[in-house]
Symmetry: C2
Subunit: 430 residues, 2 copies
């Protein structure tokens, strides 16, 4: 039976929006936004799109008009009543009223600020400049739009059955991954795949498959909209953005060296429990842990987001022991370039020694590798980063030089200040 | 948007009918029915279900009440006006008014006769006895119902995503087969998979995939309902049923020896062109061809349905040469237990030497091998055959003793009369 109304409604689409809601965003962006709104609301920050996979010439694949339509659509979004109710009324990490009233009022009134878009050398230069708590909310929608427009560009000439079989293959692949993960005892795993997803509908499908296939082992999704629709946990804590901006704002080497801890001191005041997760790698994990104040060792866990993940976790275990903490009570969240083989390997190595958890991103929500000719749907490394704060450039070193960013002279200065020596380069997959 | 009317309609289903139309049937059954209606209308024939795969205990898998509901539903069907119009108005094999008016009137008035159903030893004994042109139309619906009820029994405890992934895998498999077939030059292939299909909707999907994937190489489907809906050719000629019943009715060895040629003499009078296809194997292909009258060598082609298919085709080529015919003008239709590897092999061996065509059955429309635990959806060898005619048992020898049927003493008599020597047993896959 054809539903005529639906068919006519579909005919009327001007665009098929990619980002349909202000909370089609990672939960940790909202948490960080609240922290920024409280602690550094007037900082002027510039976010900029960076395509680390230069061979993917986005400006040749994606029509500029379509990109502008999608970005303009996001600028028209505002928090709906139901979304506001969900944020205000929900329990996150066991805590009610996670979001303060003043922040909710700010969010309810928010429209995303303008963007600047230019083409250069086959790439888009897309930047967002403005007050930090406003522009920071562009990061995830901008990435999701570019990723999905790229998918659409590759898919647009395919036939109906080709498409059906493409998704059949991709579904089979996701499900086989889930079947492999099912074998792991006490597995804890979440969806972190919003930013580089194949598409919104596909991420939503992947989340449903995780729910059906993993049950209690699936701890939730970073995507607030999907968490709301599917009535599951919204997951996330904090990201490099905070220490990067704090560091850029620091005046002098001493303040710079202290900046990453200042971030966590602010965070410590606001959050407890599972939200107290150390992200140590912004300026080199090993120096960060060595110089860390003792109160940080009391935090719930650590997130390993670059470098050799096993080495990173071993270093954290060693560090907790040195600080008199029991590693078995600590949470280690792996979140860098995960796929099933690595998850199984890390789980085998650390299960029972610490509480292990995984934040599975791009290779959950965008593994279309090998499924179209020329591998045109393979995921690629697109990021949207804070590149300047109050006119000062930001720097990230990470535990993998391939993920480093910032002007060369500033990178050198940061390396000196944070006493970062030789680092091992690991291939950035996604 | 939920279509409430559709949802409510779905709630109201008493049964989800498997056979939805009297023409959800193989085209050759209708052709043969017309021939029988003209030449032997008053013969009393018994059709009986035979499960050659005894390890599949159908009566334990399938609920008797559900089976009866489905069979009763078929008894309630009659030709719709649109179906009648399609049969009367369509061009089949280039010929208009393939079906004569007296036959169409018979078909328009037809309801299928009663069935007898009993359970024995974990199997169903399902028989249809009555006037040949009526009971013969039970064969395909009975098989399709049992096949699909078995599928449903295996699927009924699966979750929503498990089901989606199961079909995703099966679709991927069919599409990969089609992609492999696409490479064959001048391929001609049809769907012969109605009788042992996984389900009606699945057969319909497979046909659509063949249309999209193979274009002109896909010559049509044996299923009239799908041919009508999809506006493609209905395909088929004649089957073992005709010589088996003619043989059972023959009085004395001389008449028995002549019976298979009597069938084709009747057919010769009624049909020409692509409908003149020899099916030689009912009582051994080699003797059949040796003893065949010369006019049979003038027929359009041959269908190889048992024994070693390459050997069968080589024998036919040799026979045409001996009778002064050019094999390159002849059509060879392979239809026994085909899958892609064998199709490719046979195509390679015979392309250019004869006109090659394939009737692809069970492993097109029911290849779920290995897709559920215990391989519970693997196809199996279920047939529904004419076992008696006017009280006389029927016999089939075939070119493969594993496909032979009939009482032992009659089999011996037929072997003597048709001078059938040693035969090679081939494993019956489906």
């Amino acid at each position: 039976m054809v539903d005529i109304a639906t068919r006519v409604y579909n005919h009327k689409w001007k665009i098929d929006p990619i980002v349909r809601s202000l909370i089609d965003d990672d939960f940790y962006k909202l948490l960080m936004c609240q922290s920024v709104f409280r602690n550094r609301p007037d900082t002027t920050v510039t976010f900029s799109l960076i395509n680390r996979s230069e061979s993917i010439r986005l400006a040749e694949l994606i029509d500029e008009g379509e990109l502008r339509e999608q970005l303009d659509h996001v600028r028209g979004l505002s928090l709906t009543r139901g979304e506001s109710t969900w944020l205000r009324g929900n329990t996150f990490y066991g805590k009610r009223q996670m979001f303060r009233s003043d922040f909710m009022e700010f969010l309810e009134g928010l429209r995303l600020p303008p963007y600047q878009l230019e083409k250069r050398d086959g790439q888009y230069e897309l930047t967002f400049e403005g007050r930090w708590p406003e522009v920071m909310l562009w990061e995830i929608p901008a990435l999701a739009i570019l990723m999905e427009l790229r998918s659409r560009a590759v898919l647009k000439d395919m036939g109906r059955f080709e498409l059906q079989v493409l998704y059949a293959r991709a579904m089979t692949r996701v499900w086989e991954k889930i079947e492999a993960l099912r074998e792991l005892p006490d597995l804890l795993i979440a969806d972190f795949g919003t930013r580089r997803r194949h598409s919104f509908l596909w991420q939503d499908w992947c989340v449903q498959a995780m729910i059906e296939g993993l049950g209690q082992s699936f701890t939730g999704t970073s995507n607030c909209l999907i968490a709301m629709h599917r009535d599951i946990e919204a997951i996330g804590t904090n990201a490099h953005e905070l220490p990067m901006v704090y560091a850029a704002l620091a005046e002098g080497d001493e303040a710079l060296r202290r900046a990453p801890y200042d971030v966590l001191a602010d965070w410590h005041e606001e959050h407890d429990g599972n939200l107290r997760i150390i992200l140590p790698d912004t300026y080199g994990s090993s120096g960060f842990l060595e110089r860390a104040p003792d109160w940080l060792a009391g935090w719930t866990g650590i997130r390993i987001d670059s470098g050799d993940p096993a080495a990173g976790a071993e270093a954290a275990i060693q560090w907790w022991r040195e600080r008199g903490e029991d590693p078995r009570q600590k949470l280690v969240i792996f979140s860098d370039g995960l796929d099933v083989a690595r998850i199984i390997e890390l789980h085998r190595q650390f299960h029972g020694r610490v509480k292990v958890s995984f934040g599975w991103g791009t290779l959950l929500t965008n593994d279309f590798r090998g499924l179209v000719p020329g591998d045109g749907l393979a995921p690629f490394s697109l990021v949207c980063k804070a590149v300047a704060a109050n006119g000062q450039p930001t720097v990230k070193l990470s535990d993998n030089p391939a993920k480093a960013m910032g002007p060369a002279d500033e990178v050198e200065r940061y390396k000196r200040v944070f006493d970062v020596g030789e680092q091992v380069t690991e291939k950035v997959i996604v």
